[in-house]
């Protein structure tokens, strides 16, 4: 790029928040969270070596309860039972140092980082390497220049200046802290001051810009934290892993005997995968931190360059740097461009030519680039699984919600700011705006990649059981990018204030709420689905067909299957309290633009941009007439109502169902309502997208949601006519001015999922319309003429819609039909619980025996032996007091057996049940018989106890079989 090229118009880079401070903060949070969870392994290993307990203790309880500790954050089936609590109490020792140590460990990292924050500047400025400026500037000439430049840069005080005589390049560096900065001038810069004073000036101003921009503390805090993390967490972690790998090799070659099976849980044939995943985490973390830090630093460098030029530095100095970069990059220049981009990603300073280009056109500062978006996406699952793991180990359930909120704020903060800045820059410069979907795709790809790196898909597997599910985060990211960009474009042109910073911050806050809903659903349920564990269809099917005649069931089989398959997953949509708030924000945020006046600030921005790019951005309000958006929504709602009425008329022709099959009829009707509302939403969304020239997604969302609301109101109206209009009589025969209670409940159940599903429906419709428009012949219809909106009518309509949404959202918040719950409350179905490999089942059975089953067996055998001795001693005369004592002992064993976990294997559990029941009955009858001196009854009880003993033996036999099948050694 030539230096003399006319610089394009641009917003002042200081007007908007840069977002880099937040990105630094994100790195700090990531390092701290990683310190907490990664310290668990070394601490646990250290504790194990002290011999008091073993790594697998709490995992053993999870296994014994029928859970799979390999699925981090996965539900533990018996977590809320006394058996589980007893098990945990038994295995955790009061002297167990891990909990407090691992809580303290991040504090140690912080303390070490604080020491390093002090030590790094001290080391950089050590007397053996640098000299004070006075040593090379006895007459104070350089000092005077530096002072004059500090005034230009607006610094309060001249920072401490030192000189590195061994540094021969003409550069400088700043370090220390924002409050006490130190500039180290290179010897080469001092020498060149005479021959190239402009360079001296530019370099010093660049460093002053870093001080003025407050870059120093955050930069060196990140450096210090990373180094502390490296020494105190990462290296011990790697050491433990390598030790583990050596141990495993010893097991394989038979030098060592295997450890307890639950400790060896992850060390079987899958160990290489486990090791790869355990090693991948720190590797990904290191790459993530380095790339993110480098990217942020590059941005900060560009800001510093721009500030230096603004303060009077000669931009031609950067031409020299570009020339230098050209020389150094002459090799790669001939190679592929991707290689150059790859190399660039690792550098803390932009390439010379990029720096030079940024001075004339800082567009890259405003772009939502792929790499930062991807890295931000990776961050969310990494944070989430680490916090979940930590919470799971220490039973801190609230950490799950905390993880979603934290991830949402951080991701929305970083990605949202980038998207808003890109959109605002496009408005200012009049450039062709990006849709934001591509940037969002990178964000989503990062989220999917982070999921693979985490352990939620399983510690012993590289891919989830259902890999296509990972497309969901990609789509969610693309949608977030698309929506945010369109909102930013809309609001940056309509915001009444003169400063855009407040609207950007508001936009990011809204984005946080949206993403919190996404993370809550994905981390709570989506990952479970990805792992192949779907909710039971049987339960729903059973409740639908309960009491219905087989003929009726056969007739409605299709719809029963559809409802029982589709409905249970849909109930997960609204379990997060903020889900409906998020849906409302999705369409009310753009809709609210009509409520503000196209005021001076917006007009000024529009006319300002228009003056600069008159051919591209004519002065106009970007909002089309409200009716253009409302009408499709209204028509969609009417269409939905008509479909509902039609379905009622159709169902009216059905033969009246039996009383017991009414629930099936109601569900069938609700299914029709569901289809009708979504059809209305799809039609409204598509129409709005077709009619819109820009912001299509927003218009489609508004129209689709209005269609659902209008359709819902219409449905309530139509169902109120049920029984009043003969042709519509479906669910009742008498006429009442409101729907039946069950219909009402059904509609309330339906409203949340329908409102949520209307969002992807509108998005898909918009994507289809956009795609067809691009493929087809370009037909750019002229924008509608700007008409002054009629504020009163517009605001009235908006108020009505706002009230409707508020009522629905508040109703869901205050009295939810589908209970709000966290995934830790989620219960897996019987099928899901029984899913798992033979190895897992064997480990569960093994743990079940080890953590209580064997102890019960020992007590049972002791009691049985006493009973046998009693009977053999003198079968004709039983010692009653001794007999009662034995029966009481058997009763106690039975009571404890009933309190213990069910056997994790279904067939073994049948025998265990028979044993518990039989033994309970036998011991009770035994006591009664002995107290009443009833011989025949006593013999009967002995027979019951014998049967129970057989059931017990069968259970043990089955357990042995399961353990053998899972490759576990025979019990000694």
């Amino acid at each position: 790029m030539s230096a003399g090229r006319r610089a394009p118009q641009r917003p002042d880079e200081r007007v908007l928040v840069s977002g880099t401070t937040l990105r630094f903060a994100v790195l700090v949070v990531l390092i701290l969270v990683s310190s907490a969870w990664m310290s668990l392994l070394p601490l646990a290993a250290g504790h194990t070596s002290s011999g008091s307990t073993s790594i697998g203790d709490s995992s053993g309880c999870d296994l014994a309860a029928g859970g799979d500790p390999g699925r981090i954050g996965g539900p533990v089936p018996q977590e809320d039972t006394s058996a589980y609590r007893t098990c945990i109490d038994k295995v955790s020792s009061p002297s167990d140092p891990s909990p407090w140590l691992s809580a303290v460990w991040p504090l140690l990292v912080v303390a070490a980082a604080a020491v390093l924050m002090w030590a790094i500047p001290a080391w950089k400025a050590r007397r053996s390497r640098v000299v004070p400026l006075e040593a090379v500037d006895p007459d104070g000439e350089i000092h005077a220049v530096l002072r004059q430049l500090s005034t230009v840069a607006g610094l309060d005080h001249l920072p401490r200046v030192i000189v590195d005589p061994a540094a021969v390049s003409g550069g400088a560096v700043v370090f220390g802290s924002n409050r006490r900065p130190t500039i180290r001038l290179h010897g080469g810069l001092i020498v060149r001051r005479h021959t190239d004073p402009e360079r001296f000036r530019a370099v010093v101003l660049h460093e002053y810009a870093h001080i003025r921009n407050g870059d120093i503390t955050l930069t060196y805090l990140t450096v210090a934290l990373w180094r502390a993390f490296l020494g105190l967490v990462l290296l011990p972690y790697l050491a433990v892993l390598l030790t583990l790998a050596v141990w495993m090799a010893l097991f394989f070659i038979g030098v060592r005997a295997p450890l307890d099976p639950e400790v060896m849980r992850g060390l079987g044939g899958d160990f290489p995968i486990v090791l790869v995943k355990l090693l991948a985490t720190p590797a990904i973390l290191a790459v993530l931190v380095h790339l993110s830090r480098a990217d942020v630093l590059r941005t900060r460098e560009t800001y510093a360059d721009l500030a230096a030029v603004r303060w009077g530095a000669d931009p031609r100095i950067w031409t020299g740097a570009a020339h230098l970069a050209d020389t150094s990059d002459s090799g790669p220049r001939r190679t592929h461009r991707a290689l150059l981009t790859f190399r660039e990603a690792w550098r803390t300073h932009p390439r010379g030519e990029l720096r030079q280009e940024s001075l004339s056109d800082p567009a890259p500062l405003y772009a939502a680039r792929a790499l930062p978006m991807f890295l931000t996406g990776v961050l969310a699952p990494l944070l989430d699984f680490q916090l979940s793991l930590y919470g799971a180990v220490f039973h801190l359930g609230w950490l799950d919600n905390g993880a979603w909120a934290l991830s949402a704020v951080l991701v929305a903060g970083v990605a949202g700011t980038a998207l808003w800045r890109a959109a605002i820059n496009a408005v200012f410069t009049g450039r062709r705006p990006s849709s934001g979907a591509r940037a969002g795709l990178w964000l989503g790809a990062g989220m999917a990649a982070g999921e693979l790196a985490g352990y939620r898909v399983g510690l012993d597997s590289l891919l989830p059981a259902f890999p296509p599910a990972l497309l969901l985060p990609v789509c969610a990211g693309a949608f977030f990018g698309w929506w945010t960009t369109q909102c930013a474009r809309l609001w940056s042109r309509t915001w009444p204030g003169t400063a855009l910073r407040p609207v950007l911050i508001l936009g990011v806050l809204v984005g946080s709420v949206l993403l919190s809903s996404w993370f809550a659903w994905w981390q709570g349920y989506g990952v479970t689905f990805a792992n192949g564990l779907s909710p039971s269809t049987q339960e729903m099917r059973q409740s639908l067909t309960n009491g219905a005649a087989p003929a009726e069931v056969a007739q409605q089989d299709g719809i029963i299957t559809a409802i029982s398959t589709l409905w249970p997953p849909m109930t997960s949509f609204t379990t997060w309290p903020l889900t409906l708030v998020s849906v409302a924000l999705l369409w009310l945020t753009p809709l609210a633009a009509w409520a503000v006046r196209f005021a001076d600030g917006a007009r000024q921005r529009s006319t300002g941009a228009a003056a600069k790019t008159a051919d591209r951005l004519p002065e106009q309000n970007p909002l089309p007439p409200l009716g253009q958006i409302l009408l499709p929504g209204l028509l969609g709602g009417i269409l939905a109502t008509c479909v509902v009425a039609g379905s009622m008329a159709y169902m009216h022709t059905w033969p009246p169902p039996s009383l017991t099959a009414r629930i099936l009829l109601i569900w069938t009707f609700l299914a029709w309502v569901f289809i009708a509302l979504l059809t209305g939403a799809a039609v409204a969304g598509t129409t709005a997208a077709v009619r819109g020239n820009s912001h299509r997604l927003l218009w489609a969302l508004i129209a689709a949601q209005i269609a659902v609301l209008v359709g819902l109101a219409g449905t309530i109206l139509v169902t109120s006519l049920d029984g009043c209009v003969p042709q519509l009589s479906t669910l009742r025969l008498n006429c009442q001015p409101h729907p039946t209670p069950s219909t009402w409940l059904g509609l309330r159940l339906m409203v949340g999922p329908v409102l949520v599903l209307a969002v992807p429906v509108a998005a898909i419709a918009t994507a289809a319309v956009t795609g067809i428009r691009r493929i087809g012949p370009t037909r750019q219809s002229p924008p509608p003429p700007y008409t002054q909106p009629q504020p009163l009518r517009t605001r009235l309509v908006l108020a009505v819609l706002g009230v409707m949404v508020t009522v629905i959202t508040l109703a869901d918040l205050i009295a939810p039909v589908i209970p709000h719950s966290t995934p830790s409350d989620a219960r897996l179905t019987a099928e899901a619980r029984n899913a798992g490999s033979p190895r897992l089942r064997a480990l569960q059975v093994y743990a079940w025996e080890k953590y209580g089953g064997l102890e019960l067996a020992r007590r049972y055998v002791t009691a049985q032996t006493r009973m046998k001795d009693l009977l053999l001693k003198d079968p004709r005369h039983i010692d009653e007091s001794e007999g009662i004592s034995v029966c009481r002992q058997l009763q106690a064993v039975t009571r404890d057996a009933a309190d213990y976990f069910p056997v994790p294997d279904a067939r073994a559990q049948v025998h265990w049940n028979a044993f518990v029941t039989g033994n309970a009955q036998g011991s009770r009858n035994c006591m009664r018989a002995l107290k009443a001196s009833d011989g025949p009854k006593f013999l009967g009880s002995v027979e019951e106890l014998t049967k129970a003993m057989h059931a017990y033996a069968s259970m043990r036999e089955r357990n042995d079989k399961v353990m053998r099948a899972g490759g576990l050694p025979e019990r000694s």
Binding site: A166, V173, V191, V203, T219, A321
Partner: protein, 182 residues
């Protein structure tokens, strides 16, 4: 500077050359002050090692890729050491001769100041050429490079003579265990 062994101190040679360059207007006065600051470390070998280390362009909050500014003092410390090492290790002859030459390559002063051994005329010429080459490569004007290299060659030659005059015993000792140089 006192000499305990034959030869001349690296720092003396470089200081002399920088003084020469400053007094003849080849370099600004700051050059001398920077050299003084650099040579506050009494260990020349350590100074040279530090100067030879790869420069870090990616230091956070630095200016970034900045061209080498052609600071004479550090350049000469590295260039003189490098060129002397090159010419003194290119000894031909028996294995013993090469080995002892290699062992003598970096004779140490008790305080750590590097001594440059006596060099033959041919070696001095080679040192001169190598220094010129390195200085020109570091964007020092050719005329300056020649003048400075000439000065250094002279210092090395004179330094050797001076050393012999100051320490005749040491010279004898050196002659005993030193193979023929050049």
């Amino acid at each position: 500077m006192t000499l305990n062994h034959a030869g001349v101190c690296l720092r003396d040679v470089v200081e002399d050359a920088v003084d020469f360059a400053v007094s003849h207007g080849f370099a600004p006065p700051e050059e001398r002050r920077l050299l003084d600051a650099l040579l506050r470390d009494p260990n020349d070998a350590r100074v040279v090692r530090r100067l030879s280390r790869r420069r870090r362009h990616g230091e956070p909050l630095g200016f970034g890729a900045a061209e080498v500014a052609g600071v004479l003092g550090p350049l000469l410390m590295v260039a003189v050491t490098g060129s002397v090492t090159t010419v003194t290790t290119s000894v031909t002859g028996s294995l013993y001769a090469r080995l002892t030459a290699w062992l003598r390559r970096v004779p140490r002063h008790p305080r750590g100041v590097d001594q440059i051994p006596d060099l033959s005329r041919d070696q001095l010429r080679s040192v001169h050429d190598l220094i010129v080459e390195q200085l020109v490569r570091s964007e020092i004007p050719e005329a300056t490079a020649h003048a400075v290299a000439e000065r250094i060659s002279g210092s090395l030659a004179l330094g050797g003579e001076r050393g012999r005059a100051v320490q005749p015993d040491a010279e004898e000792e050196n002659n005993e265990d030193r193979p023929e140089a050049g």
